[in-house]
């Protein structure tokens, strides 16, 4: 075999990289600068741990592609795609076809199913209440029940935390846990929070608070306790066994003429390699397991 060995001559072959090179993408040119090798993901904070992990792994086999991930709310995902400031919108419902009261439908965009997201009503781990029924949750979130004593807890006012309209977690919680009942946003005991991360810290720090969040955020160190729903524990197993109904699909939403790089990323998130590795370890459920 032809010897192809090359001597490493550090003096000859090395080039010191200049440090501190400023990023050429600024907030002013994000929309305009999106090119075929750029992926900008915006939207759901429930899906944020997942899109974030996927972006890190995807870069390994696609280093030429620049990916940035951010989270605010599900509705912001398709809105940003439509405006052209993001290439992929992450949403907790199919915003291209599903009608949600008070929110637009983006029928000119395309949706790709990428995960099953289990959601749960949560309280602080110091709260003694472990289980709430559908009607108890409905009454708490419509202001009819305002004291923990009414649901077997201490004689303390319930501090209700809810997500803003446009949150996919809220859409799923209203639809699946409250069986279509609208959350009452007003009231002295109601506080709106803008992200899953904020929901986590608010409820964990309030022994008499209640909120709702996706299971990925409920970890032993989070300070949160997932409430059972009608006596059924909020677990991945119970979702898969179809015993626990509070879950929804997560979607990536794009324009119909999406670039190859963006399509590649979507396919990566849908691949068995990602679905059965990182997606599972972050407590989401592979789409294939809910067939």
């Amino acid at each position: 075999m032809k010897k192809m060995t090359k001597k490493l001559s550090i003096a000859v072959l090395t080039t010191a990289l200049a440090f501190g090179v400023s990023n050429t993408f600024t907030k002013d040119n994000v929309g305009a600068a999106i090119d075929k090798n750029r992926i900008v993901i915006a939207g759901s904070t429930a899906l944020l741990p997942l899109t974030n992990q996927a972006s890190k792994e995807f870069k390994k086999s696609n280093p030429k592609i620049k990916i940035s991930v951010s989270g605010s709310s599900s509705i912001a995902g398709p809105q940003a795609v439509k405006k052209g400031s993001a290439t992929i919108g992450a949403a907790d419902w199919d915003a291209t076809s599903e009608k949600v009261t008070g929110l637009p439908t983006f029928s000119d965009l395309k949706a790709y199913k990428i995960a099953v997201i289990p959601f749960a009503a949560v309280v602080s781990k110091n709260n003694p209440v472990n289980d709430l029924s559908t009607s108890e949750l409905q009454d708490i979130y419509t202001g009819k029940i305002t004291n923990w004593k009414q649901v077997g807890g201490p004689d303390k006012k319930i501090n209700v935390y809810t997500r803003s309209i446009g949150s996919g977690t809220r859409v799923n919680f209203e639809k699946k846990a409250l069986k279509g009942e609208d959350i009452k946003d007003s009231g002295s005991n109601v506080e709106k929070v803008s992200s899953s991360g904020l929901m986590k810290s608010k409820v964990a720090g309030d022994d008499y608070g209640i909120g709702y969040i996706d299971l990925a955020y409920i970890t032993p160190s989070s300070g949160l306790k997932a409430l059972s729903y009608n006596g059924v524990k909020a677990t991945v197993e119970n979702v898969k066994a179809k015993k626990y109904p509070v879950w929804g699909y997560g979607y990536l939403i794009t324009k119909s003429n999406v670039s190859e790089a963006n399509m590649k990323f979507i396919k990566f998130m849908q691949s068995s390699k990602f679905q059965n590795k990182s997606l599972k370890s972050l407590k989401f459920i592979p789409v294939s397991e809910m067939k």
Binding site: K6, A16, L17, P49, Q79, Y217, T235
Partner: protein, 477 residues
Amino acid sequence: MKKVIPALVVASSIITSQVIPTLHDSVSAASKVSSVNDVTAKKQISVDGLLKNIATIKHGSKVLYSLKDLSAALKITSNLNKKTNSIEYKLVSGKTKTSLQFNFKTNSTLLNNKKFNLSIVNHKGVPFAEANVFASVFGKDVVKTEKNSMLYISSTKLIQADTYETQFITGGKLLVTGDSEDTLQSYILNPITMKVEKTLPYQDLTVSNNGNNAVFVDDEGIINTIDLKTFKVTKFEKNVEPKTGLIWSFDSKKIYFIEGDKNTTISQLDLASGEFKILVADKVENKSDLVIASEAPLKFVYSVTKTATSTVDPETGETTVIDDSTAGQDLWSIDPSVATATAVQLTNTPDNKIYPTVLPSGFISYLSQNTDDENALTKLLVLNPLNNQTMTLFNGKQFHLIKKTMDGKVLLVQSFSSGDQVFELTESGLLKPIFKTNKTINTITATSTTKLAFTYGDDGEEKTAFVNNGNVLYITK
């Protein structure tokens, strides 16, 4: 006991001008004999990893194999019927019976009593045919190879699945994770015999450095280890935080991992005591690519990804600005053995940084890609952690993967238009060629620089190849 010749050691043909003695000498030579070269050669083929000598003839551009030798090698019975001037090859496997009959007089072939289009050539009373067709008729798989004239036949079907992850385990075997239409499981595959020795109902396994154990995190976030000899599974239920990036200590007695929904903490599990310990809790989010820089004292290198920020209109919930000017990925290091130690940022550049790898010298190598220039090549950078000076090595080469072998050698994979070339980056800084393939390598695993395996193909359709002394065999379908 028969002396076994490892099939993969030699791949040569032995030319002989002699006619192979045959059991079929008494068969009528009345049947039509096709035009063949008057030279018979013996070729070595591999059947389940064992070398067999098979007589061959050249028929036009094709090499045809003696079915007498081939059937014996594949343990297919043959029965000569002098009355009908025909021979039957038969194999019973469970409830499946396969019968291939060749009539010397009419030159016709029947498969399970139905006419079958297999070109069998009667050469001096011995039937010759294409080995891959004959083998596949009886349910054997012919293994495809690169630039290797030797035929490899597996008497059992090759794994047919999306095999997206392959790792070496003890005994030179492979742990292959495969997703087929029916099941998702891991296979313990002997790459020499091509036999699946065990299937395991787990995925996402990370094999220990000694190859004896593997670790995986189950749906509840619990770490499980599996003994790859006894297949005993041990659960470590004290910790159910989400975990990513699991790696083994050099001595395979501890597992290090990144913990939490925001990938904030670096923790360890001591397998002997079952105790978990938080090593780094600096609240820096989005850690990944955890690598051990040294174990005495314990030091890690890892990546930290900075996300973009969205500004949302509080009234409409609409995103007004997505600012990714600070988004990117940098390398950090930390020495958790020092209680007061803080993480040190090693890089501060906007390029994509992949495959951070600690070299035997203690320097950190990684691949750097400028994402602002479509035509920029991926650079191999080496960073001195003592002064944060970074150097580019082998400028102009398009490397796309760095991997350490189980015995500590550093492999580099370089892209060419015709495929990939794998090199060893030696301690003296040389690029030593290991093997070439016409595929693009997705992942690579190696016990040493002579025994390697890699995955190739698109997401959802990945396959596995085994490389033994430079020979590339495609061992899954």
